[in-house]
Amino acid sequence: MSLLHFAVLLPFLYTVFVPLFFKKVPRIHTGWFVLIVPLLLFVYFAAHFPLQSGSTPLFQSFSWIPSLGIRFDLHLDGLSMLFALIITGIGFLVIIYSIYYMSKDREALHNFYIYLLVFMGAMLGIVLSDNLMVLYVFWEATSVSSFLLIAYWYQRKRSRYGAQKAMLITVTGGFAMLLGFLMLGSAAGTFSIREIIGMKEAIVNDSLFIPAMLLVMLGAFTKSAQFPFHIWLPDAMEAPTPISAYLHSATMVKAGVYLIARMTPVFGGHMSWFWIITIVGIVTLFWGAFMAIRQFDLKALLAYSTISQLGLIMSLLGIGSLALHTNYEAQAMLFSGAILAAIFHLFNHSIFKGSLFMVVGILDHETGTRDIRKLGGLLSLMPVSFSLTIIGGLSMAGLPPFSGFLSKEMFFTGVLTAYRHIDQWVILLPIAAWLASVFTFVYCLVFVFKTFTGTYRPERLDKKPHEAPFGMLISPIVLATLVLVIFFFPNLISYSLLEPAMRSILPTLLQPGEVFEVHIQAWHGFNAELIMTIGIVVMGTLLYKTYKKWSDIYYELPRKFDFNHLYDQGLTGAERWSGRITNSYMNGYLHNYLSYIFTFVIVVVGGSFVLQQAFAIDPSTNAIIEWHEYLLAASIAVSAGFVLFVNSRLTSIIGVGAVGYLVSLLFVIFRAPDLALTQLVVETITTALFLLCFYFLPKLKTEIVRVRVKISNLLISIGVGTVFTLVGISAQSTNPFKPISHFFLNSYELSGARNMVNSILVDFRAFDTMLESVVLFTAGIGVYTLIKLRKSRGEKR
């Protein structure tokens, strides 16, 4: 257990104190006490910062379940460092923001901060774990804490719906991922990511390689809201806004991106990895941008925007993975630029999307609505928020002088590189990327200008809007400043943060001692990327101006095309169908259940009997049958048949009794006096009991049973009879073992008894007899209890 382990566990441990602060110090907002956790962690990770410029990642080991190869190993390399800094840094800012956002008098703050801390710890666990199983544990912990946070206002129906949806989708993906991890673990023989990367050549040809790859991707896609699993993210916007800012823009949705980046050294270089991730990413990019324009709720708009931007990062990771492909060794450095673009955009996106969510929270807080149709003309009332929106929004649109511009240009470089070096029809990639960017530009304009410019309509707002308190503005101001700083000084982070992260995604590309060429600059000549950006601005402005004319296409889209519709239909359909299926066979009739059981017996016993070809007749061991034995057998058959065809209960009881006495006669003939005696007495008593019970029942009704049922009953009974007769005959004819009864012949010497049956019952096998007396006694007590309890309950009534 090292300090690094303690860093991951600190948020979990700290949750213990949160309720204490909330209950004991109600005057001070609980958030102030929680603030120290991300601050400490940020400082701790930042303290390891210089270590990153060298090339020795921090590795700490702790044995958890060694027998299963599960070790709580933590690994702080460039990629983990980038994520850890984002998680703790934005976590710190989000908590400051939430202190002003969440009312300390009305909200259950202890719940809020406990869930938040659990989430933070789990997220740190994901990015630092070296062991796949530990990673999975933390992965599900983020799913669960996110579920709790989305449903924080659990009194609202929409919150519960959103939480359930997010839970179902991310956990489904999580299970798929677990399966993928297990496959990967069995192919490699270890769960350690570092060791798996080390033996990449060995597992590439394993038959489990492709299934593991697909399943791991499924987990990443569901978590990162990739098409078509993106539908949970817009509904997760029912969470409090600090949560949306933290989980659903900066951290949790990037867990999938992290997983893809982390697994690139294992799977990257495989063509299907490249194709699937790139195509899914581009489709998500396009679909998210396209759908964002039609949203009226600002948070839903940002949710679709997040989906779209995650698609962008994902597609860049896909393209970048080609750097590891053997066919493209010559262009490896070009493709590695895509990886740089991905992590750079990931960093940028966390910053500007966090600030945008916070601004939306401010708008919501100060005007009482997030509906874009009600807002407008807030520019003079909320100037600071407007400036923040401009910075965040235009960074998202990819305009200078904001950091989004840099990563957008690098994104275009990435797709153009892919187009130039792979098949011809990859031309679709830059086209789709360009179109998506146009849509991105349009929704950014919608977001900025529909909210702040235009006519101010106070009658539509619940509150009188005014600028937010300073405390609420701190965090978005910090983030927006960072956006500007990154644009003007991108190389502040390029070698300290981005290059080490690149090195951990593409570990095999460099010779030891080498470093990636990471030089980000705003101006790199008059090239295709710049033309694309100018085209976006022109086309986007045009589309924004003519928005009213073409926005009708959104309503022309068939409703069935909507994935939410599909999800809801799927859910209700699954419920309805499982209900129908269960009701169709669990109909409460004992008769049906008996038919199932007996049919099953026929199929299983008879089927295996046929398959094993076990039928055998060997008459040589049979004894000679005497005439009185024939007579007895015939009498038993006649009495049994009699029971079937009589219409009165009492008569059928007599028939059953006759069978019983005849059986005791059989015991006499076959020389079993103990059995005969017992059978005689037991038969008498059961017949008496039957008479007693049935005396009180109504007369047997001539039941009108459908012929089909009768025939099926007949078939089933004949089937069971036949199967067991055949099994009996065959068992009699094949006798592979000698009987052991000769041992009991010595009963007088061994137990001092001449009656062999009795000595078996009370001496050799007394255990059975003992338990049978217990059974009998229990039955007696059962009868007594049933009768007496029923009576006493009746009396109470």
């Binding site: 005696l677 001092g752 001449r754 009656n755 007394a766 009868v783 009768i787």
Partner: protein, 140 residues
């Protein structure tokens, strides 16, 4: 309806002794001849049932003031304790021992723990059967 059951009652008084004797015989003969605790218990129960049929339940309860549930429980416990007693003297559970001794009146007789066990079975059967029959009859 009141009907005279004098013949039945008189016959029962004689028959019950014969049946009881037979059942005890069956119980003890079980070791060497057909019989044993189970069948012996059932026959005892049938003798008691005859009494119930000939007389009424309250009378029988006065004559034999026992709770048959307790009889059954004692029987099960006896069977169990025979087993446990073997464990106490460091043998396997339910190890039965026997010995032949010369008794003054009966001559050479085998006595053993198996008999105690059989007696337990006997009591369990009597107790259970009578519990069931009495419960049902009281219910009517």
């Amino acid at each position: 309806m009141k009907f005279s059951d004098l013949i039945l009652q008189t016959a029962a008084k004689v028959l019950v002794f014969i049946i009881m004797t037979f059942s005890i015989y069956i119980l003890f003969a079980g070791h060497h001849n057909p019989g044993g605790g189970f069948i012996g218990g059932l026959i005892t129960a049938s003798a008691l049932m005859l009494l119930y049929i000939a007389f009424d339940a309250e009378t029988i309860q006065e004559i034999i003031p026992v709770d048959f549930k307790i009889i059954g429980a004692i029987g099960v416990l006896m069977a169990l304790l025979t087993g446990i007693s073997a464990v106490v003297v460091d043998s396997a559970f339910l190890t039965q021992v026997y010995k032949y001794v010369d008794l003054p009146l009966l001559g050479k007789t085998g006595i053993g723990t198996a008999l105690v066990f059989d007696l337990g079975v006997y009591l369990a059967v009597v107790g259970t059967t009578m519990t069931i029959i009495r419960s049902i009859s009281e219910d009517m």
